[in-house]
Assembly symmetry: C2
Homo-oligomer: 283 residues x 2
């Protein structure tokens, strides 16, 4: 990790006003610890995950966040709409939407699912995603939660998400009312795309979430864990951030890092680093 | 690897008429062994690599191929045009074009290069690729060798090739005369792309090479080595092949597999498998 080039901002620093911690970044912590850590670091928002929320209980997690004066920037995650058991997947997504509403999350991040075992019908899987979103959109609207379609890096197309570009996510979102279905712009997943800035401009009010982390080299043995702190890699996160602002996005910058080194570090130090990087590159 | 479902085709089988072995698939072998292996297996074409060709000597390699009655389908590889030492890169590409001409290769596969250390200017790197191709195109034309731009999977954008989609490669190729600059359609690199079939149709006569291999799971620890035999993974190689044929491509189907298991297998058995898979899925 590059050395600190700016002082750690103090709680209340206005440059932190739009920073959010996605709690996977401090996977060692449960909801209570993450919320307390955000409060100590002056990070005003948090992206929650279903696993730790289930451990706390949804109502308790909602109370922890509210009592600390934080807001929830997103809820991770729904999706997985491409498998054979469609009814079970839809039920699970409805539960996730209920939880998101109870937590006050504006959006449910949708990782749409990959190709079933032995399946090569990518167009068919992509069509099932559209059908699943169509089934869920009215339910999401009733709960006031936006379905935020996340294009994942194409290296996850087979096993995690057949949505591979932001443009493709926008194409689907546009079939539904604004506010019901939107998109996530995750720098790690989309930075390489020659059409990403055009897709961001087209997304406009559809941008439900902006997630920040960097593409670092070498690729790790576990491809899921190759994400770095903003500024440590090759993704022009600041350029993507400029584009989402130009497209009218006024929401949070959520830092989501899957990385074994980050997970083994002191979580308070991780929060201090991401606050510094936010100030240095994005605020 | 899936069990054999068709008998191994015999030399002279007309279904092998368009099959080519990219020699990296049998990395254990030098040019002489690979050429002899192709002759035994009835594979009429070979894609050569600079390293083994240099070990044989270019003239000797050309003679080996000619004497065995094979044709050369491609020469791997040129490119790496994004680094700081532009003059050295261009010189090296000119040498590669000389070798390709001497070998009778119709095209030089161009892996264009990634981002230099610490660099986040992806648009700038992409512009340097265009400039480099513009410098090399007349030299390639004089030698009768097509510069074949290869879009690599976006997971290699930072370290190997800032050309990340076939559409992007076609956009660049179209600035030059047909025959001077073309594109490679490599199933492994482009199968995930929602716009790939449209890009293939647009490429038309620009398609200089079609490379076949499959996307297998799980991703291996070394991301370079995750390629499988056609039929073992999730890429719809047959669908891509249909599209290149519909676009007018009449060249070879070159099987290029980077895979530690394939490299540790008996090379003659590897050739038999790829001939069977070619018959089963593509011929």
């Amino acid at each position: 990790m590059a050395p600190a080039r700016v002082p750690t901002p103090r709680p209340g620093d206005p440059r932190l006003a739009r920073l959010s911690l996605n709690q996977i970044t401090v996977r060692q912590w449960g909801v209570a610890e993450a919320v307390a850590g955000c409060a100590r670091a002056g990070i005003p928002a948090i992206g929650l995950w279903r696993g730790p929320v289930a451990e706390s209980g949804t109502a308790a997690a909602a109370r922890l966040v509210r009592d600390a004066g934080l807001r929830v920037s997103s809820y991770c995650r729904g999706g997985f709409l491409t498998g054979p058991d469609r009814a079970a997947a839809l039920d699970d997504n409805r539960r996730a939407l209920d939880e998101a509403a109870e937590l006050g999350a504006p959006c449910l991040v949708m990782v749409v699912g990959g190709l079933p075992e032995g399946d090569r019908d990518l167009a068919g899987a992509r069509e099932r995603v559209v059908e699943g979103i169509a089934e869920l959109a009215p339910y999401a609207a009733e709960r006031g939660v936006c379905l935020a379609l996340e294009a994942l890096h194409p290296m996850f197309c087979a096993d995690r998400a057949v949505l591979s570009t932001l443009g493709q996510a926008v194409d689907i979102a546009e079939r539904f009312p604004v506010g019901q279905v939107g998109v996530v712009v995750d720098a790690y997943h989309v930075w390489w795309d020659p059409q990403v800035h055009a897709a961001i401009a087209r997304a406009g009010a559809r941008i439900a979430s902006f997630q920040a982390c960097d593409w670092i080299l070498p690729l790790p043995a576990d491809a899921l864990l190759g994400r770095g702190m903003v500024g440590d890699g090759h993704a022009d996160v600041a350029g993507l951030h400029d584009s989402v602002l130009a497209a009218g996005y006024t929401g949070d910058v959520e830092v989501e890092i899957f990385n074994a080194d980050v997970w083994s570090a002191d979580p308070d130090a991780v929060l201090a680093t991401l606050a510094r990087r936010h100030v240095e590159y994005l605020a």
